[in-house]
């Protein structure tokens, strides 16, 4: 499998307050990779490191098979980026912002940019500084898509936008990906949004990657089990994230890597599995973080 983004042993520190101690992250080529995490978990910092906007202290970052930040100019010509905060010159009109961007990208698709301008209902004469938050978000998405990038890096692109704008933007994104097979690396803390569109998921917390796996495995692998009669220590075929007693009779286990055939394990240890409760992505995400925060900070243990 090739990777559009391949990060190994990345170490970054911003002052004394924030650190990414050692990050390994791989975004498969052609995937829509959802990068989940609470605010302040390091998602934006990781994205800025990927794009060469920040310099790591150690580790290797390869984007589209080129080392970053050494070959940043070449890589950025093939990457569309929608930052967390719209950052364009507020004195430029929508049309001028498009012209500005087009001048830097040889792959700029003028015809499609015009189509998106109409589809997003943007007024080309309006100053960027006078646009609403939703309109700014749409323009940023237009600028990123019209470059016809091989990799789209989107940092909470729909944060704070109303559902209609969000749907328009994501529809344009999915259209593009389905046409050309581009890779998307999208960060968000809106779990349901990512659940609908992503095929890979990475969860970041406190500068550490908690997990990284295909969406299906993430969604199906985290379960809440109601168990009775289990011995205090077990060597389970799944990852036992947490174990809480519900009165005297039963316990609730939070597990990862659950498969239906693992049912038999409980009989083998003299326990009884009473219920298997499915968690949606948001519940799974919350439980995963809750557990992660109670564990020693070693991501390989929970991966």
């Amino acid at each position: 499998m090739t990777h559009a983004i391949d990060i190994r042993g990345l170490h970054y520190r911003a002052g004394r307050s924030f650190e990414i101690p050692s990050l390994d992250l791989r975004v498969p080529t052609g995937a829509i990779y959802g990068f989940l995490g609470p605010n302040g978990s390091g998602k934006t910092t990781t994205i800025r490191l990927v794009l060469g906007l920040l310099r790591p202290r150690a580790g290797d970052i390869r984007v589209l098979d080129r080392p970053m930040p050494r070959q940043a100019a070449d890589v950025l010509a093939r990457v569309g980026y929608v930052p967390e905060q719209p950052h364009l010159d507020p004195t430029l009109t929508v049309r001028e912002a498009m012209r500005f961007q087009a001048a830097f990208y040889p792959t700029w698709d003028h015809a499609w940019a015009e189509e998106l301008l109409v589809a997003f209902e943007l007024d080309e004469r309006r100053l960027f500084g006078k646009l609403s938050k939703g309109q700014k978000g749409k323009l940023m998405m237009l600028l990123a898509l019209a470059q016809r990038p091989e990799l789209l890096v989107l940092d909470e692109p729909t944060d704070g936008l109303d559902p209609v704008v969000r749907r328009d933007m994501l529809a344009a994104l999915i259209d593009y990906v389905s046409e050309g097979g581009a890779t998307v690396f999208i960060s968000s803390h809106l779990v349901h949004e990512l659940e609908r569109m992503c095929d890979w998921i990475g969860v970041m917390d406190q500068g550490r990657l908690v997990t990284e796996l295909p969406m299906e495995r993430f969604k199906n692998g985290i379960k809440r089990l109601v168990v009775s009669g289990a011995p205090p220590a077990v060597a389970a075929p799944f990852s036992l994230l947490s174990r809480e007693r519900n009165g005297a009779a039963t316990e609730t286990w939070l597990v990862r890597g659950w498969e239906p055939e693992m049912h038999a394990f409980f009989d083998s240890v003299g326990a009884s599995l009473q219920r298997v409760i499915d968690l949606d992505l948001e519940d799974g995400f919350v439980e995963l973080l809750r557990t992660f925060r109670t564990l020693p900070p070693r991501p390989e243990e929970v991966r």
């Binding site: 010159d89 004195t91 430029l92 500005f100 990208y105």
Partner: protein
């Protein structure tokens, strides 16, 4: 690429550049007012030189102000956006800086050209006494160089972070403070004169701003 950078920069600097261009055009005419050929009793050589010299102080001031304001306007949009857009563009950083610098230089050419036009016009209309001569081209070249030096210095300072600007101001403020305290304590310590002579005396980087700025001279 350069064209879009120039246009974006023009939008930020147009007021400064326009006002600077007007000022540069009328300043030479103001410096020879009263020496017009139409006036019945034209100024004597000494009077004219004194008049031109008194107005001449404004040329370096205008050059420095233009350099400062255009340099600030050059980086303003990038500072507002925390340089995220600039850094995410697909070109090496040095090239982006060069584009920004070049666009500022092109914009600052307008006041220099206006000064040349104003100076040529002023020397043409003035009744210059025998023994004196007009130097519109020399004055313009000096003005253009002074604008360029001021722009380059402030461009470099503005390009830095707030911390960099703060560090520079702290050093300057510290020097002045030490000097003031030394004077108050009656300690013989002269820090400012050596700094001043390094910067302002030839071949110091700011030497171009000193001396007489004469449109008409012997």
């Amino acid at each position: 690429m350069f064209r879009v950078v120039l246009y974006a920069q023009w939008k930020w600097s147009r007021l400064v550049v326009t006002l600077g261009t007007i000022a540069a055009f009328i300043l030479p005419a103001l410096s020879v007012q009263g020496a017009s050929r139409d006036v019945g009793s034209p100024l004597k050589a000494g009077e004219l030189l004194s008049l031109v010299q008194s107005w001449g102080v404004l040329y370096p001031v205008l050059a420095a102000a233009l350099g400062l304001l255009v340099a600030i306007a050059t980086w303003a949009p990038d500072h507002r956006g925390r340089h995220v857009h600039a850094l995410s563009l697909p070109l090496p950083r040095w090239r982006y800086v060069l584009l920004r610098f070049g666009a500022g230089v092109v914009l600052l050419a307008a006041p220099a050209v206006a000064l040349l036009a104003g100076a040529v016009l002023a020397t043409h209309l003035a009744a210059i006494p025998p023994g004196l001569e007009g130097y519109p081209v020399a004055l313009t070249i000096r003005f253009a160089l002074a604008v360029l030096v001021a722009y380059a210095v402030f461009f470099a300072i503005s390009a830095g972070t707030t911390r960099t600007a703060g560090a520079i101001l702290t050093v300057i403020g510290g020097l002045i403070l030490v000097q003031v305290l030394a004077s108050a304590a009656d300690v013989h310590l002269d820090l400012l004169t050596p700094v001043q002579s390094i910067l302002l005396n030839w071949p110091g980087p700011l030497a171009i701003f000193t001396g007489r700025w004469m449109l008409i001279d012997v």
